[in-house]
């Protein structure tokens, strides 16, 4: 009985002593946090992907609470989270435009020529840094899948032809793949856009024919065909202005190299405000 009592009293007083010490320490080391920031962080997805441009969800919550970021700044959470965040902060929610990643290269193993063997680590950035890798095209996809490895949402995979494919339902436009690609082949585009010029090569057409069967040869037929003036030439490459493109698909038909593609399942007509 005595032992039990001694144990209880000694351990109890020890615990009380530590509790007191921690209470004092809690006062001394207390960190003031904004309750709004905590509430915003609560509704964010919490994957800390950095897609908003801030270092994790907590940093975004801090930025959005102090007005440095828009309420729809979280691409992963989408409209639902934007609404919740706006409610917490008591402001109007801005409607977010859902964007998805697009791969601007069609030159896979079949279409694009190799110019040698590359035996180094299977990483696009390292291959790119090693004399530009094994692809004959200095602008095309290297095919080592650094973008796929960077994707945290299972929204990308490598096709058998050695090109990354985007699973648009899973894409959150976090931009990790865009960062991972050493050749800037991946861009983020509004989901509704279905016409894409899948080439990044800036060389003149005759060089492109030597290295790739689907590269842009800068023939300008698409530029002349486009009814809305959405396609323009710059540095030997046709480029598309997504603000003007109405998904009319006329350029897809005339492109001799089949560089311009139409994605099935996208809206056939897009209403675009006339751009002067």
């Amino acid at each position: 009985m005595n032992t039990v009592l001694v144990s209880l009293v000694s351990m109890g007083s020890l615990a009380a002593l530590f509790a007191l010490g921690l209470a004092v320490a809690g006062r001394v080391f207390s960190v003031e946090t904004d309750p709004k920031v905590d509430a915003v962080e609560e509704v964010l997805p919490g994957v800390n992907c950095g897609g908003c441009g801030f270092a994790g969800c907590r940093a975004f919550a801090e930025a959005v609470s102090s007005g440095k970021a828009p309420t729809n700044g979280c691409p992963v959470g989408g409209a639902r989270v934007a609404k919740l965040v706006a409610e917490i902060l008591g402001v109007e929610a801005a409607a977010p435009v859902r964007r998805v990643a697009q791969v601007l290269c069609k030159g896979g193993l079949e279409e694009a020529k190799q110019r040698g063997d590359y035996d180094g680590p299977k990483d696009c950035r390292l291959a790119h840094a090693t004399q530009g890798g094994d692809k004959a095209c200095a602008y095309g996809c290297l095919g080592y899948g650094s973008c796929v490895k960077a994707c945290a949402f299972d929204a990308m995979y490598m096709s058998d032809n050695g090109l990354p494919v985007v699973v648009e339902e899973n894409c959150t436009a976090c931009g990790k793949c865009v960062e991972a690609c050493p050749r800037d082949i991946i861009i983020l585009v509004p989901e509704e856009q279905g016409v894409h010029i899948r080439c990044r090569n800036l060389d003149p057409g005759r060089f492109i024919r030597q290295v790739c069967s689907v590269g842009c040869i800068a023939c300008q037929r698409c530029v002349k065909t486009c009814p809305t003036g959405a396609i323009y030439m710059q540095d030997n490459l046709a480029r598309i202005d997504y603000d003007k493109c109405t998904n009319c698909r006329k350029c897809v038909e005339v492109c001799p190299m089949k560089t311009i593609v139409w994605q099935e399942g996208k809206p056939l007509v897009l209403e675009k405000a006339a751009v002067s």
Binding site: T3, S10, L14, A25, S30, V31, P121, D123, L126
Partner: protein, 190 residues
């Protein structure tokens, strides 16, 4: 026992992680990059040294005189939990970056078995106060060394051409095993 030998023994020959296999949870969990591994090592070292001192005092001035040695585990866990809380508060206030980097593994120092193991071992080996503290310091630095070495290896692993089924944890475990094997080479040091 020579203090230096005791220190060296805890640091290398009987390294807590790689030879005694204590505290392997943070060893695998916080060894993804060298910076946070080092921070984790320093935080654990702090807890190890202070808890070695406090548990020695409790063992010799409370448990011993009251002849309740069976309360050892309870009392030691109490000390460790309180200390970890203190470290957490301190880090949150002084270094939010490190606090964020260590995340959940910071409060988990409480359940890091190398801390309780160290406290119990220093009682079993009947160390005096100075020896217990030196033992704690050696163990803490040994823990930091193991973590930083492992983190360095894992940073290099990212660019290695590893077969698909071995990616992630499997290859990390193999590296940990090889590291442990290497540390067994220190056995002849003392």
């Amino acid at each position: 026992m020579n203090l230096f030998l005791l220190f060296l023994s805890a640091l290398l020959v009987n390294n807590f992680v790689l030879v005694r296999f204590l505290g392997t949870c943070p060893f695998m969990g916080v060894s993804k990059d060298v910076d946070s591994a080092f921070g984790m090592g320093v935080a654990t070292t702090f807890v190890l040294v202070v808890s070695a001192a406090v548990t020695w005092l409790i063992e010799h001035f409370i448990l011993g005189p009251l002849s309740i040695p069976f309360m050892q585990t309870t009392a030691f866990i109490l000390v460790i939990a309180a200390l970890v809380q203190l470290v957490e508060m301190f880090l949150h206030k002084t270094s939010p970056g490190l606090y964020k980097a260590m995340g959940i593994f910071l409060p988990l120092i409480t359940t890091n078995c190398c801390i309780l193991g160290l406290a119990i071992m220093s009682v079993q080996n009947a160390y005096n106060f100075i020896e217990a503290v030196v033992f704690g310091l050696g163990a803490g630095l040994g823990f930091t060394l193991a973590l930083v070495l492992m983190a360095g290896i894992r940073e290099e692993l990212r660019f290695a051409d590893i077969p698909e089924p071995m990616l992630g944890a499997p290859i990390a475990f193999i590296c940990a095993g090889l590291l442990s094997l290497a540390f067994s080479g220190f056995a002849g040091l003392i």
